[in-house]
């Protein structure tokens, strides 16, 4: 695996895309928090006509300079992407068009113009046309060491800017009014973050491409948000997810063809990176410790199991007849509450605790003015919910009752 960092052919794409994805994951957080993730999509498409036009211009001015072309591509993309941003802002502010409509409008208009010019370029500069097609879907494999330096510098710039602005951003995105009241210069900070976003998009075009770039701005933050509730860790985790996607994307684009036994089949790196990032995002949505869908489902299942086994425990304690689920019995045995279909000492204690909670809750409900005949159903549910702390408070509030409203004793209730 080390060869991805040492091999002269592999190292540029790997390190280059990793740095690019790192920066995108970091800057994507800001768009994500502003709930404007689609901006990345619009800006990357708006950069495309810049790429095409700059090639057109530079092919006329310096027909043989490849370095000049590479530089002019960056400048051209920066210009049209910024123009797209300005158009979006003006449409929202002055024309009062909703934000999603403005974004879609700029996305399709700019991209359309780009495609139009590209079709012209195809005829007059067929060689260059192939070059710019790279930017549509990206081509990491042909990157060279020069790209590492460029992307490294840009990633460093993004990190430095975010570190410098950290506190400002935290206050600004949480509470704009307060930020202004502190005398913060809101305008320049907004401008700088948008500039960073444009830079991240342009950097990403070469390796992931115009069409897929926005995924790298959205997926890492969306994944990171599932794991943390704090600003700093959120930024760190998102950029780490970006870095990881960049690496795994490169790795898989080489290894997957080998695994399936067709080593000569080459898989595009850009889409693979996007797939990895999206998988990380989906996995986080499903399995994150707090909000994950599967985690929540597992918690619900655990609670149901607990309720069912506690009900069985009570039935055993009261020596009720009836069918008893075999695997629930096994479960209670495994927990050491039951042995040979009889309760252990621990089992008796647990069952008495349940009955105590049940009857205590009934006393409480009657204390609160409920009718005696109506309290059983609620207690049947609450006996599984009440915590030791709540029990303590109930005991104190009700002055340590010894019988429930149905004149049955409350086990272990005395002081």
């Amino acid at each position: 695996m080390l060869e991805f960092f040492t091999d002269p052919v592999l190292r540029a794409p790997t390190l280059g895309t990793m740095l690019m994805c790192f920066g995108a994951g970091l800057i994507g957080c800001l768009a994500f928090l502003q709930k404007r993730s689609l901006v990345g999509e619009a800006l990357s498409h708006a950069a495309y006509p810049g790429v095409v036009l700059s090639i057109l211009v530079s092919s006329l001015l310096f027909p043989f300079s490849e370095k000049g072309a590479a530089l002019s591509i960056l400048i051209g993309a920066l210009l049209t992407s910024s123009l797209g941003l300005i158009v979006i802002h003006q449409m929202e502010k002055r024309l009062k068009i909703s934000s999603d409509a403005a974004l879609c409008f700029v996305l399709s208009l700019f991209f359309g113009v780009g495609v139009l010019f590209a079709s012209r370029l195809q005829i007059i500069q067929p060689l260059w046309f192939q070059q710019i097609q790279l930017f549509l879907f990206g081509q990491a494999a042909t990157m060279v060491d020069g790209h590492i330096i460029l992307y490294g510098a840009l990633a460093l710039f993004v990190v430095a800017a975010i570190l410098f602005l950290f506190r400002y951003l935290e206050i600004l995105y949480f509470d704009r009014g307060f930020a202004k009241a502190l005398g913060m210069r809101v305008g320049p900070i907004d401008l700088l973050t948008y500039f960073l976003l444009v830079v991240a998009v342009i950097v990403g075009m070469r390796s992931v491409g115009v069409v897929l770039m926005s995924a790298m701005l959205i997926a890492p933050p969306a994944a990171a948000r599932q794991w943390t509730n704090r600003f700093g860790p959120f930024l760190a985790l998102s950029s780490f997810f970006g870095l990881l996607s960049g690496f795994l994307g490169n790795l898989l684009s080489i290894y997957v063809p080998r695994w399936v036994g067709e080593p000569h089949l080459s898989l595009a790196t850009g889409p693979m990176i996007v797939l990895v990032a999206s998988s990380l995002c989906v996995a986080s949505l499903l399995f994150s410790t707090q909000r994950g869908y599967c985690t929540r489902m597992a918690r619900i299942a655990a609670f149901r199991l607990e309720t069912a086994s506690e009900n069985l425990l009570k039935a055993l304690y009261k020596k009720r007849e009836g069918k008893k689920s075999w695997w629930l019995l096994k479960w209670l045995e495994w927990k050491g509450l039951v042995e040979n279909s009889a309760l252990t000492d621990l089992g008796v204690q647990e069952a008495e605790k349940l009955i105590r909670l049940h009857r205590l809750w009934e006393v409480y409900l009657v204390h609160m003015g409920q009718g005696v005949e109506r309290v059983h159903a609620s207690a049947e549910e609450m006996e599984h919910i009440l915590t030791p702390e709540i029990e303590q408070e109930l005991q104190a509030l009700l002055d340590y009752p010894t019988v429930d409203p149905h004149e049955q004793p409350i086990p272990g209730g005395a002081r």
Binding site: L33, F164, R167, Y168, E170, I171, Y173, F174, D175, R176, G177, F178, K180, A181, L182, G183, R225, T228, N229, R230, F231, F234
Partner: protein, 259 residues
């Protein structure tokens, strides 16, 4: 020291426009130190605008404001602001402790990392508003009243002399409302000046000792017992005032090209 006797806030001929429409019109008043001032008026009367203009967020087209006899720039650190709760992104990944810590940044500087003493100061103010057990809680998990307490704690940490609050009682539970009123009385006793935008006319008498009645123009300003009476309320809230508000809306629509 000329500032010893100067009022907490002195507003002279303050006029604010949105476009060509006047929102605040020639406001003149001198708010003495150490009072609990309620800012009252119907919707759209310019109450929030007044606070934002005092804070320098909106530029007036005329008039000036002095704090303790000096310009805002000199006294910015002496003023704490509690915005409306609705102006905040409650989904933001941040916990209670770090929200309150924001009140410290003016003192701390934006680039320095908070030290132990700063954390302790945060815990002290959280304790004062009864929110210490929630210090590590994610902000979106709090109830409306709890969120408001966190905001007040942040303002307390700014160690200001003037507190400007935009509807702190909106959407909070009764327990919080009572706790806040007690806290405000304490602050007043410490010599702080509190200016609070308020909506509920029923509670005015028991909550505030001074009143500023606003409906674009300053209707009246002074101690509650002198200002809070039927005639003034009619001038601020009655049908004649309604006509004024409607005309203002129309003027705004015309000048922005909506009609």
């Amino acid at each position: 020291m000329g500032e010893v006797n100067s009022p907490a806030i002195e507003i002279k001929n303050l006029t604010v426009h949105y476009g060509k429409t006047p929102v605040l019109w020639e406001i003149n008043c001198s708010i003495p130190r150490g009072i609990l001032l309620g800012i009252l008026g119907p919707n759209g009367a310019g109450k929030s605008t007044l606070l934002k203009t005092l804070l320098g967020q909106l530029k007036p087209i005329g008039g000036e404001t002095l704090f303790f006899g000096e310009k805002l720039r000199e006294k910015k650190k002496k003023i704490a602001y509690v915005p409306q709760r609705s102006s905040v992104d409650w989904d933001f990944p941040i916990n209670v402790e770090n929200v309150v810590l924001m009140g410290r940044y003016q003192k701390l500087g934006m680039l320095k990392w908070p030290k132990k003493a700063d954390r302790q100061a945060v815990h002290a103010v959280l304790d004062r508003v009864g929110m210490l057990p929630f210090a590590r809680r994610q902000i979106s998990q709090l109830s409306g009243g709890q969120q408001q307490r966190v905001f007040i704690a942040r303002a307390l940490l700014q160690e200001a002399d003037i507190y400007l609050m935009d509807e702190p009682f909106a959407g909070v539970d009764i327990a919080t409302e009572k706790a806040l009123i007690a806290l405000f009385a304490e602050l007043k006793k410490e010599g702080k000046t509190l200016c609070i935008v308020h909506h509920d006319l029923m509670t005015v008498r028991s909550y505030f000792d001074w009143i500023l009645l606003l409906n674009s123009c300053l209707i009246d300003f002074g101690p509650v017992e002198e200002v809070f009476h039927e005639e003034n309320l009619k001038r601020a809230y009655g049908s004649s005032a309604y006509l004024f508000t409607e005309t203002k809306k129309l003027a705004q629509a015309r000048s922005t090209g909506d009609e």
